[in-house]
Symmetry: C2
């Protein structure tokens, strides 16, 4: 069962996926929604079994895994609803217009169609929500694509079993064979990026791994879009006023967000910018917070190695001190480092070093105005967070921050990423390889579609989404104006 996918098996899977895509590309969103809901139901049915597999392979606790399973099932159901609303088709109808300003306009109708077969790489840190049937897979299926999913080695048994559950669920409701399948092994992973029938890649992982695959996808004879969610440090900026009024609340929130899931979140706050403080003023509260928490081993030995290397690198930077030292146990307690804005301005490398695990850095500033200088030095981030008071006008600061990230939070913590219509989980490079797109929320579907226009077509020959009587009852733009059926 855990054998590596062979090149022959992989070729067969791609052929089957392409055929499944072609068979099903014109089905109604109602039909496709049934398939997504069937997967959701099957995951629910097998939840206990899958959660137990996940617990063994990831060391994540049951409550967290149950929450993640709930999220994964909800995501399938939400996307099933979303494709019936139909906004992702961006169906647009321009009727013939003899008086069109540049000269008579023919009847022309455009919609988004699925790309074809899509490759998805699962993440190590979310065994359900960003893995086999996570955000990338569900958005590609919702778009109408077939999916080949590369299971992450960190939870291989779970991944393969989840794959079986999904395939069985799709079979039961009559979806074509091959619409979804999993592969594993490095060779198959590279073949996934290279195969001419693969039309796009969804990826969640490290900057180094992601960039290598992005380069591979871009070098193809026919380059394909690579939607990689890579790394992020997620700075949190605390104003002088907020620190004065809410120091303890902020420290509690920080202690929680920085160590949630053992700090193994791409949205972990890696830098907390606060006014200069005395150690004694913050240490007891942080220590107390950590003393109430249970720690667990990191997701995998590989990840642990990477975390320790990054921690050493950041610790070795001049003027970086240890505020709280982790115990280095198998289930390690968190490390909080400490430095100053002046030190960063002198040598900004700390802004580029993500420590994926239970560690974060508190950065002290002398004057709030220094924060704008830090923002200017930032690389692209998934999130930036402001802790400020309601009567503070930070408009120009927010303006500067929005250049650097995909989500800005006001008095919150970035670690929760709700799946909704407005969610944006993305950001300028290197946080992602495609800043326009999101990997969380209903907006994620559009990544796996492209547009096709039909000019002066007989109604009966048009795809249903563009036929005059709107058989799918989707939302469309007609002669410039949005219209419900």
């Amino acid at each position: 069962m855990t054998l590596i996918t062979t090149p022959e098996q992989f070729k067969d899977q791609v052929t089957a996926a392409q055929s499944a895509y072609e068979t099903s590309r014109q089905i109604s969103p109602q039909q496709r929604a049934e398939w997504l809901n069937a997967i959701a139901k099957a995951l629910g049915h097998h939840a206990d079994e899958l959660i137990e597999l996940a617990r063994k392979e990831t060391h994540l606790d049951i409550a967290r895994l149950q929450g993640e399973m709930k999220r994964t099932i909800f995501q399938l159901q939400l996307f099933a609803k979303e494709i019936q609303y139909g906004l992702h088709f961006e169906a647009t109808i321009d009727h013939t217009d003899a008086n069109w300003g540049m000269g008579a306009r023919p009847d022309i109708r455009r919609m988004n169609v699925a790309l074809g077969v899509v490759g998805v790489f699962g993440a190590s840190n979310f065994p359900f929500a960003f893995s086999v049937m996570g955000g990338d897979s569900v958005s590609a299926l919702a778009a109408g694509c077939a999916v080949i999913h590369k299971v992450h080695d960190a939870h291989l048994t779970l991944g393969l079993r989840t794959g079986e559950v999904v395939v069985e669920a799709l079979k039961k409701v009559g979806a074509p064979d091959g619409l979804f399948s999993v592969i594993h092994g490095r060779e198959a992973a590279e073949a996934l990026v290279d195969h001419p029938l693969i039309q796009a890649i969804g990826f969640t992982g490290s900057l180094a791994g992601g960039r290598a695959l992005y380069d591979r996808a871009s070098r193809r004879t026919n380059p394909i879009p690579f939607f990689g969610e890579l790394g992020s440090i997620n700075p949190v900026f605390v104003t002088e006023k907020a620190w004065k009024i809410r120091q303890n609340d902020i420290l509690t929130g920080y202690a929680n967000a920085a160590t949630m899931g053992m700090g193994q979140f791409c949205t972990k706050p890696g830098l907390l910018f606060v006014p200069r403080f005395e150690k004694d003023a913050v240490l007891p509260l942080l220590q107390q917070e950590f003393s109430t928490k249970k720690f667990a081993p990191l997701l995998s030995p590989n990840l642990r190695k990477g975390f320790e290397a990054a921690l050493s690198k950041v610790s070795a930077i001049a003027n970086v001190d240890v505020l709280i030292e982790g115990n280095g146990a198998e289930a390690p307690s968190p490390t909080i480092l400490c430095t100053t804005v002046s030190a960063i301005k002198a040598k900004p490398e700390i802004l580029e070093l993500e420590m994926f695990g239970p560690a974060s850095v508190m950065v002290q500033y002398d004057d709030e105005s220094e924060l704008a200088e830090i923002v200017a030095l930032l690389e692209g981030q998934l999130t930036c967070t402001l802790q400020a008071e309601a009567d503070e006008n930070l408009s120009s600061f927010v303006d500067a921050v929005h250049e650097k990230c995909g989500r800005i939070l006001w008095n919150g913590w970035p670690t929760g990423v709700t799946v909704s219509y407005a969610q944006h989980h993305g950001g300028p490079y290197p946080s992602t390889t495609s800043s326009a797109r999101t990997s969380v929320g209903t907006g994620a579907i559009g990544r796996f579609m492209r547009a096709v226009a039909y000019q002066t077509f007989p109604d009966v020959m048009l795809p249903p989404a563009l036929q005059e009587n709107n058989p799918w009852k989707i939302i469309r733009r007609i002669d410039g104006l949005l219209a419900h059926s």
Copy 2:
């Protein structure tokens, strides 16, 4: 005036552009629309002067250039309207929801924002509509970007003068200095793709040139999106029945579409698939059509050289015959070549050789079913066209064709590309480098934007597009449903 842009000048232009972008990124769509309309007005004011410059440099006739100017002005005005409707912001508001299926949802609001400074490469074949103030420039400005435009060498004097007109018009209405500027010369062009502040490239041109720049953009430390519209052969498929009923009409339409603008259109029909015919049955009509046309020199000596090389290459393919031989004059008459589907199936290279100029190939088939085999061999195209009768059911053929192109026409000719809401001018690689996106029509604006989400923000700190009372009166999605203000 025609001096090459120096590296120092270029740096100054980027700095000014970035500053102009930052100054203007939060202005209202109404204000931005005024700027676009001011450019439109200035072009109208200088139309005669610019058209005369264009005529001298491109050999295109006055009527064509007047039409193109009309299109260019209309495009600016349409985009000015479009940004006030506001769909390009994709403003999406999810209010707090304690009962959200995966757990309580915070208030989260997303919108598209401008990318920053964008580089645009003008095309040789449309001195107005795809040049200095063509589709790429206007969509980037509409998105809220600043634009640096690389003028095409084939109409340098016109390009520089158009740049002056645009800059002056923007200055008059108070747009920030540097929001738009032009450069020329190869060194500056490469610097444009490389500069860290450039956030995206719009390009229309050859496959070789476009791919080289795409690779350059992808290799950057921070890769940027490269929206390249490259090459296309635009096959036209004629059914047996249509050929029987409308042979003469089809030949007339073909003769016209293949030679319009001296065949220097990216949407020129390069291949016409028809049932096997006797030469004498088609030759007289084509010859008569051509005899009524006026020919002109090609756009530039370079382009002429490229056209002749491509024509030689295609002519030298086994089983490619000459049906009508062009006269090779300075203003050359068109060449129509002739081959068979069997020959293409044996050696499909003709499907990959664009002849940019007055030449096209008629391809004879023995049985209509062979057309599906040709579609399977096609590379990505901007357009594919079907000439068929209303009672023919070609659903599965259309299904196959839609995999290969961005626009499908039924009983039309691909050479007219209207600027409208539903237009899609794009297609799978190599017709473009980004099949999801269009370079013509209002959809083109989205290429130069990325999303940002704001979580639990005080209303007053939100961008106007996301404030509760919708001060810009744009269309938005609220708690899942689209709503007018």
